[in-house]
Amino acid sequence: MEKVLTRNIGEHPVPTDLKAYEANSGYQGLRKALSTMSPAECLQSISDSGLRGRGGAGFPTGMKWSFVPMGDKCSPGHKYLIANADEMEPGTYKDRLLMEYDPHQLIEGMILSAYTIGADMAYVFIRGEYHVAIARLRDAIAECNNNGLLGEDILGSGFTLQLHVHPSGGRYICGEETALINALEGKRANPRAKPPFPQVSGLWGRPTIVNNVETLCNIPHIIDRGADWFKSLGLGDDAGTKMFGASGRVNNPGCWELPMGTPIRDIVEIHAGGMQPGLQLRGFLPGGGSTDFLTADHLDLAMDYDVIGKAGSRMGTGLLVVLDDHTCPVAMVLNLIQFFAHESCGFCTPCREGLPWTRQVLEDIEQGRGRWEDLETLAYQVSYIGAMGNTHCALAPGAMEPLQSALKYFREDFDKHISDGCCPYGGANKMAAHSHLTSSGLSSPSADAEGVQ
């Protein structure tokens, strides 16, 4: 397969400086667009390519951009482009890779996107913990400013763009685009009511586009090589390639650029090398902590937005978190809900109160204090705070996705916790004894655990 996003990454990453990037056809798309294409033609190309947002929602990028007022329809003032580099979805580690090893690819994508929507100011909103990526991006931006690729009159085209890096103060909700905008304005990152949408009224009340890092990294290639080429890269209905990955107790956890529509089985069994010795795959989250579990029955599905959607989950960020048969599904969901409860911004009551309540119920079940009526409470939470419209944003509905699917696929585990009055996997301590922290490697499964299978 042709490598697109990771052509400068891989076994032997090339240096991250401007010279190395340009030597491998870097800034070719930008030169082409600024000399031969109007913003409208760029937008047409992105729309035709079928590119969908790689941050998790999968919204068509060209359509998102098309809502930005252009020319006379836009009141005078700034327009903003923001790269969402606040990669905090549990189990996701693709954008860090793209930024650390190829910062200029993101910058070229941002310049092209800003040109298309007519933005003159751009930000990379990046996790504060991503120190290496922050330093490399700042170095790369300085190189661009010194070489006419950023700043006034880029490459003599008359187009001007300022690009800044904003390291986040740290909060999962900043990944939600309107919360991110509030954070960039120096406020608490509570999501905003929509409408108005950011395309019309975003940062400082001005038209703003927020795109995921991986989405933006695709732009230079689409502009350079065309929509038809991009569409031909996908194996199924979706276009292009995607950063896929698998973590958990697989033999070779990692992140790989693969065609859209790659079967899940290829990711788990070929790229990730299958399960560690003695373990069976029990289920997996297809794309981060806020996606529904799927099971071994779904391994032959293609990693396409609509295929995964029809199976009852979401492709999300495309990085699988694999659940093995020696790890307690109830405890795993407890870990996820604990994360979401901690990261709730606290603005709306169902999320602020409902997630800690759900966490407490799950902890009671996991620790053997569960009652049968607790299962009704969990089902109620799923139906109430899991329903879009009952909460201010998508955080709580996202949090309910792994819970609702765990109740569907791993119901017998919940039941056994309650009927036995203890975790059949022996709780977290026994679970952790299997990890590679112990020099003896994997221990044999406990009798209790076998009883569940």
Binding site: Y130, H166, S168, G170
Partner: protein
């Protein structure tokens, strides 16, 4: 908030000229001063490890916003510290992939080695231990960040390398 401190200190002299210069540089691309709130908190914290009441009030004054508003911002974000921390903050990932790969056992080992629980600082002021959501290195779990260094695949050997015989004797 310590009211007497507010009266006794000349708030304009709390921030160093360098801190003010760094904040001014951010303000060049931000249309309202309060928009630099998070940048300013991080600039001040970078030199002083944490944001004291006095610093918080000085920043608020510098950015022409109320200290109460700024406190609401400061306490919202995980990486702004409103209590003293040690020389190195250890951010231990407790999210799902690291959990599957044994972060709870790692936490227990780290706590016993350093003699501190989450939110605590070692007596010699070298380390503060905090949990952090997913650090984006799940393929090399369990992971943690010590200061600005990402440490992946943390095992007993790595703990020995990082902390020597600390807490072993």
């Amino acid at each position: 908030m310590n009211e007497t401190m507010l009266i006794q200190t000349d708030l304009d002299s709390v921030l160093s000229p360098q801190e003010k210069a760094e904040i001014d540089a951010e303000l060049l691309h931000i249309p309202y001063k309060s928009g630099a709130a998070i940048d300013a908190l991080k600039i001040v914290q970078a030199k002083r490890r944490w944001v004291s009441d006095e610093c918080l009030q000085a920043i608020a004054r510098y950015l022409e916003m109320s200290a109460e508003d700024l406190e609401g911002v400061a306490t919202f974000y995980n990486l702004i510290y409103r209590r003293p921390v040690g020389e190195n903050v250890i951010l231990l990932c407790d999210s799902v992939s690291c959990w599957i790969c044994g972060c709870e056992q790692l936490k227990a080992k780290l706590s016993s080695r350093l003699g501190i629980d989450y939110g605590e600082t070692t007596a010699d002021d070298l380390y503060t231990l905090l949990p952090v959501p997913c650090l984006g290195a799940c393929d090399r779990a369990p992971v943690m960040m010590v200061g600005e260094e990402l440490v992946t695949g943390v095992d007993d050997n790595k703990l020995d390398q990082l902390f020597g015989q600390r807490g072993q004797g």
